[in-house]
């Protein structure tokens, strides 16, 4: 079991750690407030999310469409010998715009929403039940899955898996909607075990075949874009699965899997990796797994125990994680007290840093950790920081005016310049006026805001000397330069 953190250990550093990991970072004022409120109250604020926090109004375009009619129309145009490609392109173009907007919408929830842990957990489940627009090809379905993940993010795990087994985006992604009695599709059945519940090595090929039969009859209604069940496609025969025999349903399979000891271990390890430590020692995984079993896979109390534990605040966990690209974008915006980058710039940045929301590389999701960082992504982070701080004026000409048709959705070059517009940040929000002429104090204030682990005095001196070299009365531009430098460091990548 996890050991509760002693109340006396609650301090500013631990408060900052919790706000980084359970949410998306915080300003010094917010950290101080959390410190004053105490551990229990701060954890409670994160975990006890009001029911309506999950009822988020969808983006305006996110409603079911009659996809069947749309496809019939394209087919009819094709049959009439008309140029149906234009129609398909229009659909794709709309899909591209909707996806940019969906990413904007979610980043806005993370940055400004009332329940950061809910968004963080939704992000966790998105990586866990990884599903990509590249195959699903419909923004409404991607939103619908996101909504399902959010509504169940802190609830019961087996309930969530059952909802996901009926989620159209997932069904398309893993070909479940094609599964018929005569041809049970094993793609979903395999990933359900390998990636979603018990992990590799804890099932047999026979288990996959039998469970694939149990999930037959799951269908999507293409006129309403909703799940439907087709009893005539279902295999009603006897199935033998992990010691159970009978006319097992898909839900029976999920219940069986979640009851296996391997499931709590698998989910526990993944949760700990996401929230605390990339490389968890076995005893900690055992403790988290025990916590999960104790709470019968109810995620909310599990998270409460994790965030209240001494292990979560250990040296191993604190300041040791590389920010994911999404964390980088949201946390930096918070730290700089600046709006999120414009939708298109944010999407491009996610692409360059290797984590595009709603487009994980494959069904395994993002590996994270050191895999976020290569020479190219690190340099990109440094240069992206420059854009976040100084705005679009610093972008080189070829970025501000890309080639015509450079990418799907970005083809309209005239709109593009507008879509990446950004003002420089307001340094007055970060540096009190009375410190303006005191380089050392400025560096101290900024370091506290930007770094999770306090830099050594020697480094602080180097920054201060740099600022001093700019003259006795630094301009806003000088200060932005300093902030960019502080962010263009290995240390800034850590949270």
């Amino acid at each position: 079991m996890l050991t509760p953190l002693d109340k006396s250990k609650w301090n500013e550093a631990n408060a900052a750690h919790l706000l980084n990991r359970a949410g998306f970072g915080a300003t010094p004022v917010e950290i101080e407030r959390a410190r004053q409120n105490g551990l229990a109250a701060t954890v409670r604020d994160f975990v006890e999310v009001k029911a309506d926090a999950a009822s988020v109004p969808p983006p305006a375009w996110a409603h079911p469409r009659n996809i069947r009619a749309q496809r019939m129309e394209i087919k009819a145009a094709k049959d009439r010998g008309e140029n149906f490609r234009t129609k398909i392109r229009d659909v794709r173009m709309m899909e591209g715009d909707e996806m940019i907007d969906l990413r904007r919408w979610w980043l806005d929830r993370m940055l400004n929403g009332p329940a950061p842990l809910l968004e963080k957990m939704t992000l966790f489940w998105h990586g866990h039940f990884a599903t990509s627009i590249q195959k699903v090809r419909d923004a409404y379905w991607m939103w619908l899955q996101n909504d399902t993940l959010r509504r169940n993010a802190l609830g019961n795990f087996s309930g969530l898996v059952k909802k996901i087994s009926r989620d159209p985006a997932m069904m398309i992604y893993l070909d479940l909607q094609q599964s018929r009695q005569e041809h049970p599709n094993e793609n979903w059945a395999r990933e359900l075990m390998e990636l979603f519940t018990v992990g590799i090595g804890n099932y047999t090929e026979q288990d996959i075949r039998e469970s694939a039969r149990a999930f037959t009859g799951y269908r999507i209604d293409f006129t309403t874009q909703q799940f439907r069940f087709a009893p005539f496609q279902q295999d009603h025969g006897q199935k033998k699965f992990m010691g159970r025999t009978g006319n097992l349903s898909g839900d029976d399979i999920i219940d069986t899997l979640v009851s296996r000891p391997a499931c709590a271990q698998f989910i526990g390890r993944k949760l700990w990796r996401f929230f605390a430590d990339d490389d968890p020692p076995a005893p900690i995984v055992d403790s988290v797994a025990a916590t999960i079993r104790k709470h019968n896979f109810e995620i909310r109390p599990v998270l409460r125990d994790i965030f209240s534990s001494a292990e979560f605040y250990s040296d191993r966990a604190r300041g040791s994680q590389i920010k994911s690209p999404v964390q980088y974008i949201v946390q930096t915006s918070k730290m700089l007290d600046a709006p999120a980058p414009p939708p298109l710039a944010a999407q491009n940045a996610m692409r360059q840093m290797g984590q595009i929301l709603f487009a994980p590389p494959n069904v395994k999701g993002w590996d994270g950790g050191k895999q976020w960082i290569s020479t190219s992504t690190l340099l990109f982070r440094y240069n992206f920081a420059n854009y976040l701080i100084n705005g679009d004026a610093i972008l080189p000409a070829n970025v501000r005016q890309p080639r015509q048709g450079a990418d799907v959705g970005f083809g309209r070059a005239a709109q593009y310049a507008e879509q990446i517009k950004r003002e420089p940040i307001d340094v007055a929000k970060l540096i009190p006026a009375d410190l303006r002429t005191k380089p050392r104090e400025i560096v101290g204030v900024l370091a506290k805001r930007l770094f999770q682990t306090a830099p050594a005095q020697k480094e602080l001196d180097v920054f201060a000397e740099f600022l001093e070299s700019r003259g006795p009365d630094p301009t806003d531009a000088n200060l932005r330069e300093l902030i960019h430098l502080m962010m263009s460091t290995p240390q800034f990548q850590l949270a």
């Binding site: 250990s314 895999q371 290569s374 682990t453 830099p455 050594a456």
Partner: protein, 445 residues
């Protein structure tokens, strides 16, 4: 004071002299520590290293979107071809005949000359079992060299970097483009990605005026010393103590050490790439177009001796569902002209013998043309492998145009046979380790 590691190999010398050139102040403890770890890596026998002036180079050329193999390597003597392609067929009079059965697309004049010179291997009927017809999935299969029913995270080149190049220079893999190809995905990410050399650099806030700004100078200091030079940061960092022990692999470094090393790598690579880009310009004229521009960058990097083993470039636009004839001809022309210039450039440099180019596409296209003068997603297709040391000829068998799998050509050569051969014979890397099992070798090199 620490004792400097003795430098026994040329590569170690290069690495350290680069550092020497970049670092204008005393080596801080952190760097000593990291370079000890690097040194341990260099001792690893499996490590693949080139100095940039010798050693073989692989250039992977992706034709994205699904290239119509039937109109690239044309079975002109087969009636079934002309029947299936009433509008798209290339007439026997126009095509560039290779033998009595197959010919090249009329636009591939340069490739044909190269073939006649004995430098092109045409591998026919390449694919894999249970072909997937989704761009996304099939590209992933080619990039990761997985079976069709398996998902792998690491790319095949990434596994080559992981297994055979640990401790090598980060420019061991260079991808030209906006995004790193999945083929490069690795447990310990290495390789660099950029579309223009000028782009792969740190941009200071203040505009440059030819000289290095104060900001840039400080940036260099910060990212070379990592700042944690007196142990202050390292000690308070969770994994700091781990990093103090020289590790065998990059993954043994603590997270902060890992970041610091990558930052240093980024800066050294950026310096090298920019320096080469400034110094080496091609005298061979290149045509317009994305692929030509990419190959031009690669040729300059090769000329400048970047210690790279694998370059990656791609040409897009092959998803020709409608009005294919003009589009595909244009793409073939672009490909031919870009390759022509690249080969001429390499020959002039004297590097043609060192370079092997391999093309691939996620799938070929349906044998039967569709109602819109295009073709739909197919399966097996040919690959080109060319270079000064390549054994020319036809490999594999041209698939039957009548014995089809759901309207598509059946493969007879697994694409991993081509990868395996390139790994074993060209890069001298154990293909079994990289691909997970042994595939039959081809006599292409």
């Amino acid at each position: 004071m620490k004792t400097k590691p003795t430098l026994q190999t040329r590569r170690k010398f290069l690495r350290t002299s680069m550092l020497g050139a970049a670092a204008t102040w005393t080596l801080p403890v952190f760097l000593e520590k990291t370079f000890f770890a690097l040194d341990a890596l260099a001792a690893d026998a499996a490590t693949q290293a080139v100095t940039g002036k010798d050693g073989t180079v692989l250039v992977v050329l992706q034709m994205a979107g699904g290239n119509d193999g039937l109109n690239m390597v044309v079975p002109y003597a087969d009636d079934a071809y002309h029947v299936a392609r009433p509008r798209l067929r290339l007439a026997s009079e126009q095509v560039l005949k290779v033998d009595h059965h197959i010919a090249l697309n009329p636009k591939l004049t340069g490739v044909k000359s190269l073939y006649d010179e004995g430098h092109v291997a045409i591998v026919q009927g390449v694919g894999y079992p249970n072909p997937n017809r989704s761009h996304f999935r099939s590209t992933e299969i080619w990039q990761t060299a997985s079976d069709a029913d398996r998902t792998l995270n690491e790319g095949w080149l990434g596994r080559y970097f992981d297994n055979c190049c640990s401790g090598a220079d980060p420019t061991v893999g260079v991808a030209i483009g906006e995004e790193t190809p999945q083929a490069f995905a690795a447990k310990n990410p290495t390789g660099v990605t950029f579309s223009r050399p000028e782009q792969f650099r740190f941009r200071p806030s203040e505009p440059g005026n030819g000289q290095m700004s104060a900001e840039e100078i400080l940036f260099r200091q910060l990212n070379e010393t990592g700042g944690g030079d007196d142990g202050g940061t390292a000690a308070s960092n969770a994994g700091g103590s781990i990093g103090a022990i020289p590790g065998k692999t990059k993954s043994d470094l603590s997270t902060l050490d890992f970041l610091q090393r990558t930052a240093l790598d980024a800066q050294l690579s950026s310096d090298k790439i920019l320096a080469i880009a400034r110094k080496y310009k091609s005298t061979v004229p290149y045509p317009q177009g994305q692929l030509a521009a990419s190959l031009n960058v690669i040729a300059r990097m090769i000329a400048g001796g970047l210690p790279t083993r694998v370059y990656y470039a791609s040409q897009g636009g092959f998803d020709t569902h409608a009005g294919q004839i003009n589009t595909h001809d244009r793409l073939m022309g672009e490909f031919n002209d870009a390759v022509n210039a690249f080969v001429a450039d390499l020959k002039q440099q004297g590097n043609f013998e060192r370079v092997l180019v391999m093309t691939f596409s996620e799938f070929g296209r349906r044998v039967q043309e569709n109602a819109n003068g295009g073709t739909d997603h197919g399966a097996a297709a040919p690959m080109f492998v060319f270079g000064g040391a390549v054994k020319a000829g036809l490999f594999g068998k041209y698939p039957s145009l009548t014995d089809l799998d759901r309207g598509d050509l059946k493969f007879n050569t697994d694409f991993r046979s081509v990868y395996g051969t390139v790994l074993d014979k060209w890069l001298k890397a154990p293909s079994q380790t990289v691909l997970g099992r042994k595939f039959p070798a081809l006599g292409i090199v």
